[in-house]
Symmetry: C3
């Protein structure tokens, strides 16, 4: 059985992190919480989401696996006020999800999990640089770079003890440096990789401005970005593959 | 003569209730207030609006009948701040409406009342169920149903002493129950009718969230919705014809 | 050299006044401040902007002349919070403008000033009427007139000691009178001229609601509108050519 109660804002924050990459996903409903892993159709961006049982007001599950349409589920959650509770219950017979918000009941048809793209393995990379920064600095980097280019370089200058962002456009450029003093933390190591801004913009939408984002970078390697949601009772990891260096 | 002064928000609330159904209407300017009755082009939705002379700061009329373009009149009223006063005066000679807002004068050409669709008779139905609920619950019903379907069933279960809303979509369903405890008042009697959501969505736009809406329902009969505006010095009644039961 | 620091809202207010008329302009960076003069492609509307060195937190210039894309520069300024400082520095070698906002550096390619439309001479007209009014009254005049027409007459009735606005549409009219009591100041003299609303609407966007606007009017002559920005340390003058009287 799956029967859980969760606040609307917790559910929305969790769903947002996945819906920026995919339309449909599989929800693993295990005893200790909800878990999602998904990769976008082009195999460029991945997300790993966990939402602990403790993030729910009440939670019961036995390892169910269900497939959902995320925008549909987000629209339903969007009808609730941020602090309102949402009750989710799987009807084993009909294989539909019963969603109640203060008396209002929504019956959501599920998607056959076998028809949803296979879940990716999040590779275990040993990346040389680890930068911890505020979500708002990720946002500034992405927003400014988007004004001049469609790609963005993220790097760490080990010698200068700083994290930098570079975007080179046809006429204008953006450069952003954050020294270790401006960062929450920096474990320096030379790193430089180029990424598609389209993906980073999508991921950025799901990163709260006040989140502590732990970023891992290498030399022409994927970037990983990790942050907590639900007061630390949930976690999101994004991974984005690098672009071939443009010249 | 017609010469009246009214606050912008009172005028706007009154006009909104009519403009959701029709573009043009006839205003009856009687000694005791303003009155409008209108039906949409498809003869499915009706509105009856009265705004008592007491709802105006000052009011004088002798039974004039004028035709107005509602969106034009709403645009003019929209230039005023909510608590600003709007002065309306009929120029008998030019047959135009002089509208002043703090020194600004707008001369509105009127429409020949004979060119406007005939006013409907609001039928006097003796409907078995009467539900009194908050405007925000009408809004929740309509908004949620709109996510899954283009029609909505409204009903009362006499035995269970509850009002319900049902919307059945191709894959998902919405069900909403309000027991007599959740309602302001319920005079139960079996009732169940199906309605077009397009019309209910339009009517819903004119219902304030904190209004007390008195709804009358029957078995495959029209629904009537009545609520006050202008601190009880005005009243709106909507009537919506039922749809043939879908199956 | 050009090296200046200015608050984001001061820079934005200044740029707004020019960008409502043209896409690109020449910035004169003189010792005592920044100056722009521009005319729209149809030679109907002109703007003269000065921003004194005192409006900047720091300012150094030696008579540089640079060409800029205004919407690009406004987008960059828009990334800063209103009270954030923007650092502008001309790189003499690359002929690019280096713009920094709290660590973020934007390198803006400049436009060859010779490729930008020539700057107009703002004619020195001796206009008979001078009206000083609040920006919000300019806004009301323009917004109301726009509801009925695409042109607007501005005038002063010397005998009646009032300023008036007239807009005549195909069916509806707008008339707005401000007596000398309603104005900040009125130096009366008969005046009446007709203007294109498209231009006035654009200029109106750059006029703050609480600005004191000094308007100069004549008989079928251009209108001049003058107002201060940056707490009086900057000034904008708009001039708009009259339309031929419609009939």
């Amino acid at each position: 059985m799956f029967d859980a109660i969760v606040s609307a804002d917790t559910l929305q924050d969790a769903l947002d992190s996945v819906s920026v990459l995919v339309e449909e996903c599989k929800l693993h409903l295990d005893e200790d919480g909800l878990q999602v892993r998904a990769v976008d159709p082009a195999n460029v961006g991945m997300v790993d989401l966990t939402l602990d049982a403790a993030a729910f007001e009440s939670y019961e599950a036995d390892g169910e696996l269900i497939g959902v349409n995320l925008s549909r589920l987000e629209d339903i959650a969007g009808m609730a006020a941020a602090d309102q509770l949402i009750h989710l219950e799987l009807d084993e017979e009909t294989r539909k999800l019963e969603i109640s918000i203060d008396g209002l009941e929504y019956t959501l048809a599920l998607i056959d999990p076998d028809s949803i793209r296979q879940e990716p393995d999040m590779p275990d990379l040993d990346l040389p640089a680890r930068i911890t920064l505020e979500g708002r600095d990720v946002d500034r980097s992405v927003t400014a770079s988007d004004m001049v280019s469609d790609h963005i370089a993220l790097g760490v200058d080990d010698a200068a003890d700083l994290f930098y962002v570079d975007a080179e456009g046809d006429t204008d450029d953006v450069h952003f440096e954050l020294h270790s003093d401006d960062l929450i933390d920096l474990e320096a190591g030379d790193a430089h990789s180029l990424f598609s801004l389209d993906y980073l913009k999508d991921m950025n939408k799901a990163i709260p401005a006040d989140a502590e984002v732990e970023m891992e970078l290498g030399e022409e390697f994927p970037v990983k970005m990790h942050f907590d949601i639900a007061d630390g009772q949930g976690a999101v990891t994004f991974m984005l593959a690098p672009r071939v260096q443009s010249n």
